[in-house]
């Protein structure tokens, strides 16, 4: 795999002509199949920003923040958001279907396997293997955070906001609603007061 991110400026112009619905579907099938557990956001960014260039990092990040702000599973919201930005209602439906259909089949198959294996020898191994993949998925999530921070956070103010959000929700366990109620106005004020450089 080549490093496609090297040399690409952070503020890249969005693609001029919107992608075909079939391309959106295939893109989100890839995302769903390559994105495990906590690593799913990493997978969305890889496909939509790095590989296909449908959105730049800032558009992706604002979609991600909006997906967290409204209720529901973040990455499913993000798929609906991106599909809708690219091709309206049809794009949203196609992105949702692509993201959920193959994993749905796999999940039901694994579930059937699990119900079948319950109480049999080998169930414990199955469970250990699963937890190993779970541990990697957490790492994929943190690794994506590092990548995003290196490329998008260049000033002290935004860095402080990033760290406060991460630590207050991730370590102190303060409910997200309170954190966002304080940090969104603070970050808006900062963005408004300090024009883009």
């Amino acid at each position: 795999m080549v490093d496609r991110e090297a040399g690409i400026p952070t503020l890249r112009a969005p693609t001029l002509s919107p992608p075909a619905l079939s391309a959106i579907f295939v893109g989100f099938v890839n995302i769903g199949l390559m994105g495990f557990g906590g690593g799913l956001t990493a997978s969305v960014r890889r496909e939509v920003v790095t590989r296909r260039g449908w959105l730049d990092d800032r558009q992706f990040l604002s979609g991600y923040a909006l997906s967290q702000l409204v209720p529901g599973a973040t990455n499913i919201n993000l798929a609906v958001f991106i599909g809708s930005q690219l091709r309206g209602l049809a794009g949203a439906l196609v992105a949702f279907a692509g993201l959920t259909a193959p994993p749905l089949v796999i999940m039901l198959t694994l579930g059937a396997l699990y119900f079948h294996m319950q109480g049999h020898a080998g169930a414990e191994w199955f469970s250990i293997g699963l937890s190993g993949m779970g541990a990697v998925a957490v790492g994929l999530n943190l690794g994506t955070g590092i990548r995003l921070a290196r490329r998008n956070i260049r000033k002290l103010g935004p860095a402080a906001i990033m760290a406060t959000v991460a630590l207050s929700t991730g370590v102190a366990g303060i409910p997200l609603v309170y954190v966002l109620a304080v940090m969104i106005p603070a970050s808006l004020l900062l963005a408004w007061a300090i024009p883009r450089s």
Binding site: M107, A135, G139, I161
Partner: protein, 174 residues
Amino acid sequence: MTQILLQLASLFVVLSVLAFGGGAGVIPDMQRAVVDTNHWMTAREFLDMFAISRAAPGPGSLIVVLIGQKVAGPAGAAVSFVAMFTPSCVVIFFVSRIWHRAGQSAWREIVERAFAPIAVGLTFASGLVLLRGSEHSLASYAVTVIATVAFAFTEINPLFLLGGGAAALLALGG
């Protein structure tokens, strides 16, 4: 049967609307409803389903189809899926249309710049929450750290890391 399907539908519609900050946040509520209130399964079974949903590709919130499948077969899985995702998808769709109509306006530019550090912070936070929420052994922590560094600083394929993680824990016995 209809009774159980209605129970599943109302449970997941409510959880869908309450799931601020992502699907993982409602897992404790889900467990309470499924294990303690309705006695549909044991806590151990719920934990196993959670592990499957985390390790299987795709959105972890698809755990609802496993619960539906266990409780009421394929019809239960279908009802749970529709109930969990329809309300939240409708909301984000209308938000995204408003966003789209804002085009290149000045307020959208400011909001985008303001949201970037918050979104990056949330990415770290969700990883940290998962780390605290699961029973991590020393070996799991090591796997998580190696995966973090490898994914952040190399172009390694995530599937390779996932396979390696499963193999490492199996070799070390958990």
